[in-house]
Structure formats: structure tokens, C-alpha cells
Symmetry: C2
Subunit: 389 residues, 2 copies
């Protein structure tokens, strides 16, 4: 169980199979986010159809509502949500910091007020693991603190040391053998603090390692220097998970640096806002051009929306504020990211990952339909995809 | 084409097959409403899966947005919406009255201001048929006026006479052979005015007849007396369509009186509001009881929601304001009405319709889970289901 077998490599990018209790998954992979026990607007059958492998759920949200007891009464997240495949739950640590009010962090744990009703809630390494055991995901995460950006070096250092002590408490408390607990390397954008976190975390030899504390406001250059540094120093025989990332370009760059797992609300959130992901960049379906476009979002895409609908119809649904619009754009965007990692895996197997990534980026960053101005391939991206060549 | 063959009868209730260009359908049937070219939240594949046969779309809404030209550029509603089966469009008359502002009705037609942007729009018998020909439904409706309730007898009489003159203009203008135009009998709740409308409308021998002007605020007793009177005087060899109706009890009562076709936004609208239709009445999923109920909405239902989800999970989705909640409750409610007419057809084939209807009503009107107080079977319902026995 939780065996991680590398099947191909191209530079530092690799493909692998990872065995979980609810199925063997292929990496690199993107994990859709089902914060409250549902990937917004998408059914479990659709997730299976578009090639989703692991679904992420948020401990913080499910702890507050409906509570872990109700999820456990359904036999855990698969019974509750009807998604039959593997799940990953985060520890709640990140959301306590970003959503909780009046939080008080001590060595013992964190007390905060619920963003829903202001009630007082307590999370600690032990309580987080207890809740995650009740939720029943295949992969659970160590309870950590993710410092904000920017933060004082001294704060980041104290925080990462406490995160290591909390990791030890998580592992001591954990009792379910059928759940893998991943540890999280912190250290912000400082190479020496990343090293310190690595030195303290690697000895626990958890079945997977996450890179935390990034994509919280630092620039792409600093972020990818930290990913580069950290991923290169994680054991090659264990999965590497870059938390809360990302956009298409983040997946392509992260995979080049040896990352295996990603998650982000971006595809569903940007879909609800009317944006569609394509190889030509992000298409703004709220603009006027799609209203008369009789072609699909993406002629190369095999999702339900692209096989059935014109851009004109989807643009009509958006203007008419019809629920089918966010549903279909979310579905397409998830499928786009799944197809992107599928293409990345194929390029790795053919040992031409950097070449494929640059070719993809040439079109993506120059896309005619792009919503944002991105003149050419950014240097952080080029450095990342050529780091292992 | 548009052949209507009665296959079984039980009292005045009947089953039939009705041939349309996009497929042969079984009556009695309930038609989901896709006002703006989408049944809210539901994909065409799901409509097919739950047994939808004809989808209704609204001429008024599609005329204003996106405009008939764009729908025609997709080859009509099937190409635009990706629902491959038969469509029915209404004439726009009803919505002009209920949604248009500053409307001015003359013998020639109706001028009104769009509820979307206040722009001036004109509809007439000729323009309605022109738009409905561009939308390309299999069944199109005569441009009529539906008087409000209550209205003066004199107004209803003048209106129904004009509606007949408008019907003649619709038929003169109509040029597409592959679309059936249904006429609409008006007359409010007055038997003599219904008779007058029937006398003037029946000679046109349209391929189907609608009963209009009901379910606009009159009581159930008056409404069903009008349905009873009108349906009994329509030719038996043509489909009868009770417009804008209904609730489950309306379908069961209307079928008993010989109605073949129904449409209503009720199942999707009440679903979006958190209500689920069952044989025990309407379940309020917003209340506290479902939050801990590990059973499905309806153990006898075969919809995706009932096969996969507990009431507790769906109640969680509602409280969490997740899009999957209105989607799944809409899907279930549509399937409930489709299953209801399927069961009605089976009872008609076994020539025990009234017996089945009363048995169904015993449970429905006494349902433990009902949202509204309905003490026992109402007399209008009993009178309707026993009218033909």
C-alpha cells in the first residue's frame, strides 16, 4: 500500500504509479478541489468521465459543517459524496489562517472562531488527525502552519520548527493503517529555511512529502526558486505534492521540477467567473467575441461541453445567468488540466518533456484569446522547464 | 407526420403515440421547460436519461436574447441546445402579458418593452410564427392572448375572438411543413365562453389543441371545471395540451380528464428552492429532519440523486449553498414527474386509471413529509379522477 513506482523520467520530470486503498493513480496529476464535499457543480460520474483521479476535500470546512460525525456515518467521504475513488484531505491548518477569525496559536494548537457562525473551534495536530480519520480520505496531511507572505524570517523559522513538532504529534496520534499521512516542508522563499525544514522533516520518512507555504502572494520567480530547491532535495522514491497550485503554466513548470501532485480551486473558480482554459490561454467567455462564435471552446478537447456546445451557446448561458454555464465551464477547465497532465505524462514517457513544455508555452503565452497580457514565455517558466536538462 | 394514435383508454384518460420530426413520443407526458434554451442546471444527456421526451422553450425569452438569428445559425434549438429530441415553443403571447412592460395590444399585434433592457419589441401572429420557424421546434403554438384572472367577461370574450383571428393569421403565414401548429382554446373559467372559443377554433383542425388561460390565479375547483368542460369537447384523435400545468396532483387529475401534454417550471423551480417531490408529498429539504437522514430522497426513484445521495448529503449541499443541490433536486423532481406519467400510462393500459389515481392521492395528500397542510384528498381532485368512470 502507498507504493510509489517511477515508470519514466525526462530530466527531473517523472511519471509514476501510486497505490492507494481506493485505486492506483498515475502521476503527475491534478486533483480537483471539493472543499465542502463537492467539486462545485460537478457530479462524481463526471469526475470519473473526465479522468479525475484523487479528489481533495477540506478538513476545516467539513469540520465546521456538516461535522465529521455525519461524514463518518456515511462510511467516510466516498459514501458521503458518492465519489468512489481516492480522496485527500488537508489538515485544516491553512484555512484556520486564511478564514478563521480571532485565531490564537499556541504550541498546543489553534483556537479560532468559525467564519460561519462565530463559534469557537479548536484544532491541534491530534484533533486534525482525528477529524481526518473520521473523514476517511486515503491521503491525509500533517497539521502545519503556513505563514503569510511576507513574514519575518524569525517567524517563519519558529513556525517551521513548531510544524515539525506538530508532525511528530500527528504521527504519534495517527491510528488508521489505511491512510497515508504526508508531511509538509515549509520555509517560505528562503533556501536556508527550506533546508532546515527538509533536514527536520525527511527523517520521518512519511509516504509522501508536500511543499507548503507557496503561492501565497510571493512572485513566480521566488516561488519557483523555492520549488526548485525543495523538490530537488525530496527523496525521489516518494510522491511530491505542491499544495494549492495551480494554473496551467504552474503544472507544466512544477512537473519539470519533479512535482507529482497538484491541487487548486482555479479551474472551477475561473470557470464560474466565465473563463475557459485553452492551449491559446484563458478565453474570456464574458467578452463579445464568443457570442457569435459557432465553434467549441476548444476543438481538441473531448469534454461534454466541447463535444456539444458552441462558444455562442455558452456565452448566451453566461449572459442569461444560467446554472449550466458555470457547470460546463468548470467541467471543461478540469478536463483541460487533466488533459494537460496526460500530455505531460506522454512527453515524459517519450523523454522530451522540456521540448514539449516549451512548445506548449510558445502557444499558451502568445495566445490570441488570452485574457491577460503575457508577452512571451516568462523567464521563471523557462528556467523551471530547463532546470533538469 | 404528427400522427396521433390512441393505444389505450381508461375512462377519459388515454395513452397515445405522437409522431414528430425528431421522434415519436408517448403520451400522457410532462415537458420540462427550458425557458432560455436550457432546462435550468440539467444537461441534454441527463434529460434523455430521465425519460424526457419533448423540451419546451420560450419564444419571448429567446427572441430578446440571444435572438432567433443565432439559434437559426445553429440549425435551430437542437443544434443550439444540444438536446437532440423534439421541442415545443410557445408563441410569446403569455410572457408578453406577464413580463413585458408598457404593452399596447391592438388588432395588429402587441408592442412592449423588453424586461431585460427596456427596448421596444413588437410581436404579432406573423412575427411569432416567423420567430418560431427560426427556432425550429417540432411543435409551435398559435399567438394568443391569455387574459389575466380575474378579468371582465366582456374582455375575455373580445380577447378570445381576437385570438381566433390571430390563429387564422398564424396559419396563413406559416410556411414550414415540418412544424405542427397547435391552436389554443381560451374562455377563462366560463363554460359558455369556452364553448364559443371551441366553436371558433375546432374548424381549423390543427394537429393539436391547447387549453390556455388556466392556472393563472383562479381556484382549483374553477380550473378543473374548465379543464373538464374543454377537454371533453376537443376531438379525441388529436393531442390535448394543458399549458403551464403543473404540480403532481395536476398531472394526475388532468390525465383523468383526457389531457395528454403538460409543461411547468414547477419541478425545477421548487427544486432550486430546496423542495423534493415524492409520493408522500413535497419534502422540505431545508428543514432540520433531512440533515441527519441517511436514506435517499425517494427509495423508489431511479434518478442519479436517489441512487447516489442521502438526504443528509443533499441537505448539507443546500446549507453550504453548493450548485450541486439545485442541480440534483431539479433532476430528481423532473424524474419524479416523468415516472408519475409513466405510472399513469401503465394504469391506463391496465384500465384502472381512476383506482390508481385515488390510491396515489391517498398517500400523496396525507404524506407525512408534506410541506403544506393538505388534509385529505380535495374534492376537485376526486371529481376530476372520477369524471370519466
Amino acid at each position: 500500500m502507498f507504493d510509489f513506482q517511477i515508470t519514466a523520467q525526462s530530466g527531473r520530470a517523472r511519471t509514476a504509479t501510486f497505490v492507494t486503498p481506493r485505486g492506483t493513480v498515475q502521476t503527475p496529476m491534478f486533483m480537483p478541489v471539493g472543499t465542502q464535499g463537492t467539486v462545485k457543480g460537478i457530479s462524481p460520474q463526471e469526475l470519473t468521465d473526465i479522468g479525475s483521479q484523487i479528489v481533495l476535500a477540506n478538513t476545516y470546512h467539513l469540520l465546521l459543517r456538516p461535522g465529521p460525525e455525519l461524514v463518518a456515518a456515511h462510511g467516510g467521504l466516498p459514501g458521503f459524496t458518492a465519489y468512489p475513488g481516492p480522496f485527500l484531505t488537508d489538515s485544516g491548518g491553512f484555512q484556520v489562517m486564511s478564514l478563521g477569525h480571532m485565531r490564537r496559536i499556541t504550541e498546543e494548537g489553534v483556537t479560532f472562531k468559525s467564519h460561519l457562525d462565530g463559534s469557537s473551534v479548536y484544532l491541534s495536530p491530534e484533533r486534525s488527525v482525528e477529524v481526518q480519520q473520521a473523514l476517511g480520505a486515503d491521503i491525509i496531511m500533517a497539521f502545519d502552519e503556513c505563514p503569510p507572505y511576507p513574514a519575518e524570517r524569525e517567524y517563519i523559522q519558529a513556525s517551521l520548527e513548531r510544524t515539525v513538532r506538530w508532525l511528530e504529534r500527528c504521527l504519534t496520534f495517527k491510528s488508521r493503517e489505511d491512510q497515508a499521512l504526508f508531511s509538509i516542508v515549509q520555509g517560505g522563499v528562503h533556501a536556508d529555511l527550506r533546508q532546515q525544514s527538509l533536514d527536520a522533516t525527511l527523517p520521518f520518512a512519511t509516504p509522501g512529502f508536500a511543499i507548503g507555504g507557496l503561492a501565497v502572494g510571493e512572485g513566480k520567480t521566488e516561488m519557483y526558486e523555492a520549488v526548485d530547491y525543495t523538490a530537488a532535495r525530496l527523496p525521489s522514491g516518494k510522491p511530491r505534492y505542491l499544495m494549492g497550485v495551480g494554473h496551467p503554466e504552474d503544472l507544466v513548470a512544477g512537473i519539470a521540477l519533479g512535482v507529482d501532485m497538484f491541487d487548486c480551486v482555479y479551474p472551477t473558480r475561473t470557470g464560474r467567473f466565465g473563463y475557459a482554459l485553452t492551449d491559446d490561454g484563458r478565453v474570456n467567455m464574458n467578452s463579445s467575441a464568443p457570442r457569435s462564435d459557432l465553434g467549441p471552446i476548444d476543438p481538441e478537447c473531448d469534454c461534454y461541453a466541447c463535444r456539444h456546445y458552441t462558444r455562442a451557446y455558452l456565452a448566451h448561458l453566461i449572459r442569461a445567468e444560467e446554472m449550466l454555464a458555470p457547470r460546463m465551464l468548470s467541467l471543461h477547465n478540469l478536463r483541460y488540466l487533466h488533459r494537460l497532465v496526460e500530455r505531460a505524462r506522454a512527453a515524459i514517457r517519450e523523454d522530451r518533456y522540456a521540448e514539449w513544455a516549451i512548445c506548449w508555452a510558445e502557444r499558451y503565452f502568445k495566445g490570441k484569446n488570452k485574457a491577460d497580457e503575457m508577452p512571451g514565455i516568462p523567464s521563471w517558466f523557462l528556467r523551471s522547464v530547463t532546470a533538469g536538462v
